[in-house]
Subunit: 594 residues, 2 copies
């Protein structure tokens, strides 16, 4: 039998050859008795031509309907000059069919199998096997393959071992909610699906594996408001005997290889770094989008000189006052400014003060704003200077609680940047955010909580603050931010069992709780744990950014809906009485039932 040629691979050098191809009929056109059929497989599309001289083949060709699966044997011929299609890789040739075999017929599909299809996502997920047949979706799956394969090759070249960690784990509720798996052998007990392989990868370092990687499935039973999935995939690495810098260098190489293979873009050798403190100061967010300016300027100190309560009170009471200068922003309408005011209210801001800078040399007359009258001229001058204001600028102000101001002005910055067209298409900017605080204050529980996770190592020089001043400790944690989206993060871990015990104590985790949840890790640290650290990338997020799609669902072959269900298979579903019994479970009759 002739070897198969893939539809998209035909070129002029095939002319004259007898070939065999397989694929799906896309279109079927009759031009004066000559039938033209576009046949497609994963590799692309080729045009089949059937002349009326062979009535049997001609009749079959006529009968073909969209998505019928066929095999064609024929001769590759040149298209006439007028019919060459320069837009199609195979557009210089066509295949003159000598036989066509129908391998399977297709009923009329529920939606068009092409990239113009705009059917609703629920419908697409119900018929995912047809949705995935669209060239764009096939392309996303191929992208996913190329990127993960490149990641594996890179990590192999750097002496990482791929090691599988268990999916049936112990439940250690912390952070997100676990998916549980009832045990039949131990009725009333459960396994949990892993939220990440964190503890296992640390144990692999204790086991001397030196460099571990896994493209690991992780699970979180969360309400999927944002673009999240119950199961997702992370590129997970861990290394022994390394510094933060070494982990970051490996991660940069990894991402370079993925980017190169995925979208053919060469990233720089090293990515810039910014401290958490700097990021909050200049961008208001710990995931700064550094593709554009609009940086914040802190004027809290300056505001101690004014009477204006809105600015003075935060300055006096540990709050924050910031300016965001928008070059050319004075052209914004009152309506636009009102919309931005509404926008920042989402983040808890009670208002959005602003000044339009018409003439920097004329104070206060050259400034247009409801608040100018509350500010002395010298302060106005200092403000303008501090943020480098020029004529035509608009200054937005945030004042109040530090978190609210940063949230509001940080998110406003991103919105204004996009609205004003400051974000260049195709610009990919990566930045490391480093030196995170070790702990954040949990106001509800009145205790410090781990900003990353409780295994994150503090800087050695901050260690003596662990009991006395934990909120001012920095951790050896790092996040990687791509165009304003956090795509990964990691840390150097605690390898010393005493330090780990002290951190648990600071977190208010009792010895008993630590022992029942993490006892095996704490124990492991006692038997020669090497210094180690690592990182994980959210693969689905990375791919959606590469693919330029909004939802990670587009780069996952069989995703769940926002309501954590699969409309195709109808999972989750009822199970049999026998299954309930075997697991020793019954349904709780009402929510109230205890």
């Amino acid at each position: 039998m002739l070897a198969r040629t893939h539809c998209g691979d035909f070129r002029v050098h095939h002319i004259g050859q007898t070939v065999r191809l397989n694929g799906w009929a896309q279109t079927n056109r009759d031009h004066g008795g000559v039938v033209f059929i576009d046949v497609r497989d994963r590799s692309g599309l080729v045009q089949i031509v059937v002349h009326p001289d062979d009535p049997a083949v001609h009749q079959l060709a006529h009968s073909l309907r969209q998505q019928d699966v066929i095999e064609v044997v024929g001769e590759v011929i040149a298209r006439s000059d007028e019919t060459v299609n320069a837009k199609l890789p195979t557009g210089a040739i066509e295949v003159k069919a000598s036989t066509i075999t129908v391998l399977n017929r297709s009923e009329t599909p529920p939606f068009m199998i092409d990239d113009t299809c705009d059917t609703g996502e629920q419908h697409r997920l119900e018929y995912r096997y047809l949705d995935l047949r669209r060239p764009k979706m096939q392309g996303f799956m191929a992208l996913r393959h190329r990127v993960t394969h490149a990641a594996r090759n890179y990590l192999d070249s750097q002496s990482f071992l791929e090691i599988e960690t268990p999916i049936l784990n112990k439940s250690t509720p912390e952070g997100a909610r676990d998916y549980l798996v009832p045990s039949r052998v131990y009725p009333g007990s459960f396994f949990a699906l892993p939220q990440s392989p964190q503890i296992f990868k640390q144990l692999l370092m204790v086991a001397g594996m030196d460099r571990y990687y896994q493209i690991a499935r992780c699970f979180r039973d969360e309400d999927l408001r944002a673009d999240r999935q119950p199961e997702f995939t992370q590129v997970d690495i861990e290394l022994s005997f390394v510094s933060q810098d070494e982990v970051m260098a490996v991660a940069e190489g990894l991402l370079r290889s993925m980017f190169d293979a995925g979208v053919g873009i060469h990233l720089p050798e090293t990515f810039p770094r910014i401290t958490y403190a700097d990021a909050m100061d200049r961008y208001g967010l710990d995931r700064p989008d550094v593709r554009f300016g609009l940086e914040h300027v802190n004027i809290t100190e300056m505001m101690k000189r004014v009477e204006f309560k809105v600015f003075r009170e935060p300055a006096d009471n540990g709050g924050l006052v910031k300016i965001m200068r928008v070059p050319g922003g004075s052209a914004l309408s009152r309506k636009q400014i009102d919309d931005y005011t509404k926008f920042v209210s989402i983040y808890g801001a009670k208002g959005l003060a602003w000044i339009k800078v018409n003439d920097v040399t004329d104070l206060p007359g050259g400034l247009q704003s409801p608040i100018v009258k509350f500010l002395p001229e010298d302060v106005l001058a200092d403000m303008l200077q501090a943020c480098g204001a020029e004529n035509g600028d608009l200054l937005f102000f945030g004042a109040g609680d530090e978190k609210v101001v940063n949230d509001a002005l940080g998110n406003l910055r991103v919105k204004v940047g996009h609205d004003m067209g400051l974000v260049a298409a195709g610009d990919h900017r990566f930045v490391w955010v480093v030196d995170f605080p070790m702990f954040a204050w949990n106001a509800d529980e009145k205790r410090p909580e781990a900003l990353h996770h409780p295994f994150t190592a503090p800087y050695a020089e901050d260690l003596d603050k662990l009991e006395s001043d934990p909120l001012n400790m920095r951790s050896q944690a790092y996040d990687l931010v791509w165009n304003g989206t956090e795509i990964g993060g990691g840390s150097i871990r605690i390898h010393n069992p005493e330090v780990q015990a002290r951190v648990f104590k600071t977190l208010g985790i009792s010895d008993e709780e630590a022992d029942s949840k993490f006892g095996f890790l704490v124990n492991a640290l006692k038997y020669g744990a090497p210094p180690h650290g690592g990182l994980a990338f959210g693969l689905d997020r990375v791919l959606s950014l590469m693919a330029g799609v909004d939802s990670i669902r587009d780069v996952i072959a069989f995703p769940k809906t926002q309501k954590a269900a699969d409309p195709m298979s109808n999972a989750p579903s009822e199970v049999s009485d026998a299954q309930w019994k075997e697991l020793g479970l019954r349904k709780r009759r009402t929510i109230q039932e205890s």
Copy 2:
């Protein structure tokens, strides 16, 4: 800082260099004031030498205990001729330490971290992070990495796309028991963990993905009598527009690449094939170990000529009578034969008839056996001829129900082959078993059941037997057998929706059941499913055979016990009341409670 050199990498060309290394102290010996420390990491072991001339370093070296984690900086020096250790790759050199830093101390480990350790498996699993630190176990993890990486590279070179299929699936109880995951969003409903990605990989073919692969985690909630695990890994592939031969050729290439990378053995270009019928006839098992002879000879027809009821009855009543000739077997003692008789009783055989062949030219006097007196001389002569008996042979007989005879004599063949030293160490023999029956008879339910799974395609020429004579249909299924162990299998799948419906009917699966369990697959076949087929290898089993270990647990980083538990993390475990409530579940009070 100096770049790190891995302990096992030191060679004579490093002599004179100042180096840095990290690892675990193994031993600490003092020879006349000079301290020798073996330091090990994943790559191997190197000897550190500390002379008393630097008292601080010397004192520290003295203090080192087993499994302390250290960093050493020093100079590589040649060992004196008398102390060169030719058995050690680093044995021509040693590192004269100028500084030693203790990175972490180790308590005395619960067992020795070396390959001579013979502590019980329960203990090893409880401290798996230490068990894995043993060189042998690290070697198994490295083997696993090499093999899977080679598999991925091979499949990538063959245009396969790695595509992840969901772990949260629909429960379709069939064959083994599903692990279930209660849904919080839909209380009383469950996801199921996949027993294999079978349906999803077929859907990917419907989606036009052409070639799919995944190194996929699979789950079965079975009682783990045999060497099974609740979660295991398979190398899973599926291809469109292919014949059985093409799938097998890809699988051979895949296995060749894995074998090459794993253990450096080059397998042949193609593996021999045997039909299921032949395998049963000659070996009694559908997983024949073809490393040695001892083939069976069917003498059922011949036994229609004898009076001897034990042989005659099966011959007359659709049973089976077989000889297994054991060359040189007449040297076996009565005790040994008795033991074999006991052995075959495990498989339901009521006895084990035998004949010692002392002189083939002297019938019946040259034959020693309790049964010779029941058999006429001409039949004895025909028997000897049929099996090619020679002086010194022992003939074993199986007679009775076909299944019992094949089971008994098939397993006896393997046992005798091993006992008699017919199995050469290092011999790796692969054989494809093809042309399996499409259905087996389920005597309990009095209906045919799928021998592989209900999606397996029959041979086209057998299709008309689907309703009339299903038990005599052959399927396009194939198993790969390695030294008598089935390591993988697959089939061409049904792509025609009508054929699939007919097969469900023959299996006694109602339309309603088919729709609720597999409706989405059946539906998918209607919209242009291409002809397709595939195969899966049991990765854990393949690796255990490569590693030469008895248990797949040795090639899994964190396996469960035979009781489906993890003694390290104590999974499965109790969960909180809040977790029970969120899932809408409560414990069934007694087994009887309905």
